[in-house]
Symmetry: D2
Subunit: 377 residues, 4 copies
Amino acid sequence: MTSALWDPIFGRSHVTPSTDDQAWLAALCAVEAALARACADVGLIEPAVARRVADVCTAQAGTDPTALGAAAQADGNPVRPLVQELRAAVRPDDTWAVHFGATSQDVLDTAAMLVARDALAVIASALQSAADSCARLAAEHRDTAMVARTLLQQAVPTTFGTLAAGWGEGLDRAGQKLDAVQLAVQLGGGAGTLAGWYPHGPAVRSAFAAELGLTDPGTSWHTERGRIADLACALGVACGAVAKVSTDIVLLAQTEVGEVREGAGGESSTMAHKHNPIAAVTARAAAAQAPGLVATVLAAMPAELQRGAGPWHAEWPALTALLNTTGGAARRLADSLTDLQVDADAMVRNLRTLTGLAEPDLGHAGDIVDHFLKGRA
Amino acid sequence: MTSALWDPIFGRSHVTPSTDDQAWLAALCAVEAALARACADVGLIEPAVARRVADVCTAQAGTDPTALGAAAQADGNPVRPLVQELRAAVRPDDTWAVHFGATSQDVLDTAAMLVARDALAVIASALQSAADSCARLAAEHRDTAMVARTLLQQAVPTTFGTLAAGWGEGLDRAGQKLDAVQLAVQLGGGAGTLAGWYPHGPAVRSAFAAELGLTDPGTSWHTERGRIADLACALGVACGAVAKVSTDIVLLAQTEVGEVREGAGGESSTMAHKHNPIAAVTARAAAAQAPGLVATVLAAMPAELQRGAGPWHAEWPALTALLNTTGGAARRLADSLTDLQVDADAMVRNLRTLTGLAEPDLGHAGDIVDHFLKGRA
Amino acid sequence: MTSALWDPIFGRSHVTPSTDDQAWLAALCAVEAALARACADVGLIEPAVARRVADVCTAQAGTDPTALGAAAQADGNPVRPLVQELRAAVRPDDTWAVHFGATSQDVLDTAAMLVARDALAVIASALQSAADSCARLAAEHRDTAMVARTLLQQAVPTTFGTLAAGWGEGLDRAGQKLDAVQLAVQLGGGAGTLAGWYPHGPAVRSAFAAELGLTDPGTSWHTERGRIADLACALGVACGAVAKVSTDIVLLAQTEVGEVREGAGGESSTMAHKHNPIAAVTARAAAAQAPGLVATVLAAMPAELQRGAGPWHAEWPALTALLNTTGGAARRLADSLTDLQVDADAMVRNLRTLTGLAEPDLGHAGDIVDHFLKGRA
Amino acid sequence: MTSALWDPIFGRSHVTPSTDDQAWLAALCAVEAALARACADVGLIEPAVARRVADVCTAQAGTDPTALGAAAQADGNPVRPLVQELRAAVRPDDTWAVHFGATSQDVLDTAAMLVARDALAVIASALQSAADSCARLAAEHRDTAMVARTLLQQAVPTTFGTLAAGWGEGLDRAGQKLDAVQLAVQLGGGAGTLAGWYPHGPAVRSAFAAELGLTDPGTSWHTERGRIADLACALGVACGAVAKVSTDIVLLAQTEVGEVREGAGGESSTMAHKHNPIAAVTARAAAAQAPGLVATVLAAMPAELQRGAGPWHAEWPALTALLNTTGGAARRLADSLTDLQVDADAMVRNLRTLTGLAEPDLGHAGDIVDHFLKGRA
């Protein structure tokens, strides 16, 4: 789900290499390789066979996913045709060792966690960059007085540092929530009973998790989709944090307010004098995709009995879109903040329409900034 | 937003050529060409100049959209860089006639209607094919008694014809709703006042609509997004109609019910005896994307003042995804229905667990089928 | 689902009498009465019996719904206990004529249409009132120049009349969409085959519709929920139109912009100088409930086989909330617009920061207003 | 937002006393009382005055919220009229000590946390009860073989104990997530700078939190809505866990499957032989409200600058509905599970259509049950 035309606009170009067809294929192959190695760890497959299978899986990761996609339609997922390709590629007497004991969902769910892990690293980096900019702005403008606006009406004094600290707190919290999402392998076989590896099931799952650097969940979650929902929610909350900041930037950049300005604003096709806060605008648009996508993932939680007959499949496009749009939103916000120009004079001017020349009462504004900066130090 | 790996699974491969980067570029170019011709129609541009501009636009449609996407990031949409490319490609003294009087949103909104029109044709055809299959099944099984299930409990007798007629009615209604969506040009200039074509504004808009075979809306809808929301809703309702039928197929195909079976069911990677109703399952999954996407489009309706600062941009990925997933859902359902195998013996057997050997009371079941078939004749 | 504390804030107090427990009970009773009379029309029940049954139904409408709610839990809907109460209240030898041939869903779905009809009348009136205010503002300010803001940046000149006309067009379109929603009876019996009234099924349905002033759908829609989804979508689009206008009011009322002001703005608990556009703010909040509720209704479309085992029930709270919040949003917007104060001097002042003293180029702004006003005349 | 007619059906009657008008009024009053006491703790108000103010607040909690609701419309929230009532009720020279230093949002946000805390206790108890039933079923049926169904097709053997353990794990995880949601006071004054309590701001906030038994967040979150979003998401995930289990119950209770049966199933108004799993059906319906409501809360995260002009207000109905529907869903599921009748013979019978008389391979099914039970011990 990549687009050369739209991905740059929505900041997705940084994330899509982690979620595109090639990334999914690589993840599926990595899972099959790890499974072979995990089976070897407990003695179900000889080490040499597992190594040969794993090597074939690794090689397969670089192939063209187009044929796989076409073949996948009949099964509703790409795992069976991939396994067929892998079995055709290994030595004839190694075929039994490919996809040993597993069901398609084991491979796809675990691959999804690998895809998510790589995408989350990109997202976290963009969120971090945006939050770092907030910290820089908060420090620089710790004492820059501005007028607080409640219901978009001028209210009482505050500082831009306080506002920027609040932005950063939201972004940092969102990043911590994403960090805390546990990415676990799924391994259970057709019914989730680990029957194919008996009596080594839990040991294989544990080795499988270790091979991939994912968590061993201690159970099968093939139709207990709380983990997927947690991930989707954390992405949705991150988009909300991004939307908050980018909305504020767009509002402060209004011609009549004029308190901030994007260093690299967009030009209009007809109006040369305009200075559009394009990065913030597109960050808002990317973030606005999230609530609906989170709803889709939540609505897919009731996977029927031992494998969802639609709900499971419904997660893939929604989750992929959510990873992409969150990464894009965070990236565009980071772009906006990187060289955001703050007009402290305009802030004073706007504040004086409210307070006149009186010294503004800033309360604990400075303490709030200090608290935020200390918390990240 | 295409994927060689996932599009076939979700049935999107048929639609994505209407919504992919190349299709968008072609639509944008077609709009710029039509604008030049429309200006010529009212005498604002000489015919020869307009022809030359239109020719360049047409040629541009086939270029690679990658560079355009990269250049578009700074503006938040691809129109200004496209206009730059077009101006560089026309004769130097024709540059004034490119994008005459228009703003980016005019071009993008109108191009979106062209993209939607092409995608809707594909969607309509798939819905029609699915509804035709329902009509065939209803006719064939007009008198095939089965047990009605309410709250998934066996209840009283009905016929499979009645059920299939109900499926077809929902699909036909959804298709009619999609047909009724009015696709109108947007043309207004920077503020929606048609200032750039004064005093010929309404005439240019009318000619522009005629050139493109779209409706002349009689007004500017740059920030009155009801038309986009209507389109999104009609797509959402179509997905609901598809989800209803595919859910029923999955339920009737259950091993314990066994009343229908997909002709080309999917195989399991581990369980050879299974016969999965994969087309219906993936139709459900594709349709399940819609409610969240519709919510995204509805939530984007409040475009600020004379151009949405985020809400406008938020429509593009959601609307594109909605077109793709609706087309995919309809396609997969059509696939499922095309050679759906109905086991009338199983229907009788299941019915008899309820009624024994008594003649089932079928009420107006036959009349309902006849009414449906007559309505489509 | 009423609240003495919150309904006034969100403008719902006008609508909730049409959707509250008593209104639902009245609607359920009206449906049972109409069914008896419809059966009498075709000779299935003697006129005198039908009259007596209908009288009992009418009397029942005024009773306390509390006991009914408690009794309804065991069945998942209030129809069976209501029928029991009605049967206990009629003459012993009239009991057979109560709920003749019908299933619970027939009664509940049709009652929902009555509830919706009454609520829609309130909603339409509020939308109309808001649109009328837009027309008045558009006429008064046909030539009041203001600056158009795109991406919230000052762009080029327009008029406030043009903006108000656009608001009115959106509200009028939304009102027309709501008017166009067809409210049809549902009557089909346990399986939708009209078996209970055979061979008079279609005639009973037709008479039933005539009794209630609803549409005869010509079929059973017990699990073809497109009609409910259409209604939900029309409500969602209406909320979007309201949100657009109220967002613009909030933006124009910003202290720094100062171009409009609510006649009766809210006061702050701490800041006496503020003049909050509370009606517009709460209209936005009420309208913001809609996208998620529409998604809920769309996601409930796949009702299983002959009666949804959850999806059907899921419609009731979502649809009721949607009716209430749409009516509330429209009401609060109408409140905001009724005595919206427009500061034409501020508009000129803000425009001049852009254009200086040059005469603004207003293009077809006046024509746009005239077109809108003529269209409503 | 209570309904005597509908609340029992959706299981909400247990929760609504925690979220209804009276509960909100009590919470608002408790917050004002705690604020006075907190100010006394740091010496801003004399203890005797604070005590008198707190006593008046406590008395006010029991009054009728109707007049408050009517008065609240003008301000868009009930805090200012409540403060007026409180000031009218205290001794004239105590009025300054009412609502000392606070803004409406401080009181409303903190009251929302109290409402949420009470509702969460009810929800947690219902989830716990449902999970306990799962544990009992898992223990009882540790070795009851049944057929696993993937994509609703019979697949391979498993046990009912394994299924029930998976249900319980999902419910327990959801409960833990809800427990982990941090409910923090909001206290910041008009701009979030704690100016009204300077230099004691942080100390007042800390005392305020201690008075109410809520967390001191260390900052102002008036427009950093991540905490509200986290709460909404945890409720949404809980609904998903409930929906999973109730969907499975409905599927296993199908006439053709017949493996479980609700002890107290609903009766049909026309079909006496049916045994509807009404508690599970209405649990599904209640849970199905959640994804849309979560989307509404997420979409409201971008609260503008120092107080949301609509987004803030939009949280209240969505969050209240979410608390109610989650509690109702959990309650109805607990009802369903409490006396769920498991037909082990039917499970064996259905399994044998797949495996014949061969001993089913149950893999680690027993270990999975043991792991689950040990984890809760």
